[in-house]
Subunit: 161 residues, 2 copies
């Protein structure tokens, strides 16, 4: 599901504020790109984002998307992630904080998301044991091999069509 309209508005407001503070200009392209980015779910690649943007307006170049995502990252509104599939993916900041964790296949690049309350409970416990810490957020990434990648006879790769 996409982000709630209220969240998107709040993000856009932060973006505007950032532009003003940095003496940057509001342009049609930037507005389009950030609007699509804020509405996007999960981790978006430059290519995916450009595709969405072009659905709404034909003429936006790769370079502008790169440049805008760089600004978003610098402003703290986006975070860049490397999953080892050869391209950088971006996520709306804040989404990473409460959301899902990742399972990444080292071979085929497939990325799955998961949540596990038991693990999170243990995390809290570990932190408490280490002197009374309180966990605010966490980042958990599992890197592994899907059955196919391990060379199992008949192993399947969830990524295959």
């Amino acid at each position: 599901m996409p982000h709630a309209a209220a969240d998107v508005d709040r993000l856009k407001s932060r973006w505007q504020k950032y532009l003003r503070r940095q003496n940057l200009k509001t342009t049609q392209q930037r507005e389009l790109i950030v609007a699509e980015f804020f509405q996007a779910e999960g981790h978006v690649s430059i290519e995916e984002l450009l595709e969405r943007v072009r659905r709404r307006s034909a003429k936006v170049g790769y370079a502008t998307v790169y440049r805008t995502l760089k600004l978003l990252t610098e402003s703290g509104l986006a975070t860049a992630q490397q999953f080892g599939d050869g391209q950088t993916r971006f996520e709306v900041a804040g989404e990473a904080e409460n959301h899902h964790d990742h399972l990444i296949c080292l071979q085929c690049g497939l990325i799955l998301e998961f949540e596990n309350p038991e693990i999170e409970k243990l995390q809290d416990q570990v932190a408490a044991d280490l002197g009374g810490f309180k966990v605010v957020r966490h980042k958990l990434e599992l890197y592994g091999l899907c059955p196919k990648a391990m060379g199992q006879k008949g192993g399947y790769c969830p990524n295959e069509s």
Copy 2:
């Protein structure tokens, strides 16, 4: 410090076994590359590894290093990592296995290390449930607040002297 000779031997033996099982050939280049790789400490880039290899024998090509590291990764003896610096780095698999996780205080910046077998067991289980994945390595970072940072009366910060 480099890996102990005994470890290197054990790794080499696993490598040989892998080659045989996959009907691959043992070549001078491959032997050199894996020998250097197993002795290397930490996360090595292709370029660094090639440099080391060439110190011992002049004529090994980039492509061969790439291809050999791919084999090592598929065999489970190496893991690929992205640190966002634009190049892939590789680590000897065993190194990641006794890798510790981090607990970071958002306020005072203290970083503690921990290990928790129960969490790791759950990670493996999650991966298995998601279609039969095998976890090769993981990254877990907890961001939180130490007691002092939370403003607890008399709360102590382990970081203070």
